[in-house]
Amino acid sequence: MLTANDQAPDFELYSTPDQKFALHQLKGRNVILAFYPADWSPVCGDQMSLYNEMLRFFRKYNAELLGISVDGKWCHTAYSQSRNLHFPLLADFEPKGEVARKYGVYDEKNGQCQRALFVIDGEGIIRWSYLSPDSINPGADGILQALESITRKNEQYATIDPSGK
């Protein structure tokens, strides 16, 4: 699994039945990549619905959330509408799991993405990653801590004047 200080591999996946979305479109912003096994798990607050409720906290840190599973683009469309999601779900559908493999989070045995989080900074560098057991929803505290750490570091660098004044 990729980890802090690794370059986040770029990718382009369908986010709607007729539109593709590329990671590099978000250059300059922080990005949260949430890989998850499948749409439609039968729980009120499944992970994607939970993050949907927390978008305003992510946006405070200039972060965009992307959900990725191997479900197809039509499945994502239906699931997103059903849960009223306000962030893109990307289809790592064809070739199956190719992006998850690049990040080291493809579950070969079950043919789906593992439940993994990556927080990527505006330069495309991974600053935090976390693998959760499939059956456990990891929540968002780790994401927020990583975003805070990026924000603090950015603020520190902003006050350093290279001319030494």
Partner: protein, 177 residues
């Protein structure tokens, strides 16, 4: 897993003996069926443990999933302004299928609240802010769904059935002694 953040404090809604050795904190959503199912379980736990257990409730409305969740939380907080948080909390869980602005007013009337004050508090941004603050505290505490429970400030990841919770509380009591 982070601890309950912030810890239980004077701004919280707490029911039970002030010096109870074990504290159970629930992050709940009044429109969530899982929280509705947990409601009688918690009542039974309170009856069983008596003065050994105190209960804390914090709001975690899943507003996109449950359209009445936020309004219900505001109603509970407004009732709390008139010292009737827990009775309103109970009424909301007992009437989960009937949540609406009209219903909250009816519950307030049944509880004998000053309705003019209740109406004003329902619109008061400070009341909504308390709901939002609880939600944010839940995010920071690692809440991953509703209900989420914390036993003495540590996230409880076991079953939400009566026996699982009772055993976990008994284990905490054994540590507390």
């Amino acid at each position: 897993m982070p601890p309950l953040t912030p810890p239980v404090n004077k701004h919280d809604h707490i029911e039970g003996a002030a010096n109870a050795p074990v504290t159970l904190t629930e992050y709940g959503d009044f429109e969530c069926p899982h929280c509705g199912a947990a409601y009688p379980v918690i009542k039974k736990l309170q009856q069983h443990f008596g003065t050994q257990l105190r209960l804390v409730y914090r709001y975690f409305p899943l507003s996109d999933a449950h359209p009445h969740a936020f309004g219900a939380a505001v109603a509970a907080e407004a009732a709390g302004r008139q010292q009737q948080f827990w009775p309103m909390h109970d009424m909301l869980f007992e009437h989960q299928q009937e949540l609406s602005d009209k219903a909250y007013r009816l519950f307030a009337k049944t509880l004998g609240l000053d309705l003019a004050r209740f109406d004003a508090d329902m619109q008061d941004p400070a009341v909504a802010e308390k709901v939002d603050a609880d939600f944010e505290s839940g995010v920071r505490s690692g809440v991953n769904g509703t209900p989420s429970f914390y036993l003495d400030g540590h996230k409880y990841n076991g079953g939400y059935d009566y026996m699982s919770l009772r055993e976990a509380i008994e284990a905490q009591l054994a540590h507390a002694l």
